[in-house]
Symmetry: C2
């Protein structure tokens, strides 16, 4: 049974472990591989407008943040980022987080959601976001330095809420 | 005679006046219209990797910043923003700033430049960036809340360096 709830202070260590594992992998997020804990948690958990965790049997298996994609005149569009623990992938947790985030974003009054850097080689993510109603608005050539594949393309994806 | 040089502390008031005028106009940049001086200068002048001004007869008539568009694995692509004083537009200053920024970006080792939010109704800018070698990679529907026209589209534009 998966429970998605607001992140609490006591989740910081678990979020950092998950964040650090995903970022160290170097295949999906642009954060520097050697990012430190305080900075990582600031960007993922503290600065965004909201941060949630997915809990299963007392363990954090996923997390997402929600924030304005642009300030001021662009602040009616939000941005979100999602991470699922490596050993919990392929079980619908990413989809559950995305569905939760779409509802949370509507509740916060956002009119659209935009992803700025969906790594094109991350086919599972691209497939899931399409299934969740996102369109590929454009593809930026070689803007992501993939840890294994070198420079690869990334998509800008968008959907109305 | 136009002189483009690194912004100095003594330029802060002039940059703020220019920044504030452009932002208050509400037709080209997403910064909140009521942004305060310290925050505006932090975003435009202090946080970016470089900030330049265009000086003519002792007055600041334009400015631009240059920064990483993404951290870490996306930090080989830069982002830039440009502003020209209202009474100095249509005189090639925007183009001079852009040409200067392309050289400065190459010198800093960037491999590409990306604009994330080129307001589609700002036809002079779209035309100039195309002339400067940028492609429209995609168009985001109604992501900019234009002060006069309401929600309008914005382009993501990109060129290699």
């Amino acid at each position: 049974m998966l429970n998605i709830r607001s992140a609490q202070c006591r989740d910081r260590d678990a979020i950092w472990t998950l964040f650090h594992d995903v970022v160290s992998d170097g295949t999906t997020y642009a954060y520097p591989s050697d990012i430190e804990k305080a900075e990582g948690l600031r960007l993922w958990m503290d600065d965004p407008r909201a941060c949630y965790v997915a809990e299963r049997e007392g363990a954090i298996v996923g997390t997402y943040y929600l924030k304005d994609n642009q300030p001021g005149r662009g602040a009616h569009v939000c941005n979100a980022g999602y991470m699922v623990r490596a050993d919990a992938r392929g079980q619908g947790i990413g989809q559950a987080l995305c569905e939760h985030s779409l509802k949370a974003a509507r509740r916060l009054g956002y009119e659209a959601m935009q992803y700025n850097l969906v790594v094109a080689t991350n086919e599972a993510a691209v497939h899931l976001w399409k299934k969740m109603g996102f369109d590929i608005v454009g593809t930026l050539p070689e803007v992501f330095d993939h840890a294994e594949k070198g420079l690869v393309d990334a998509h800008v994806m968008y959907r109305r809420l």
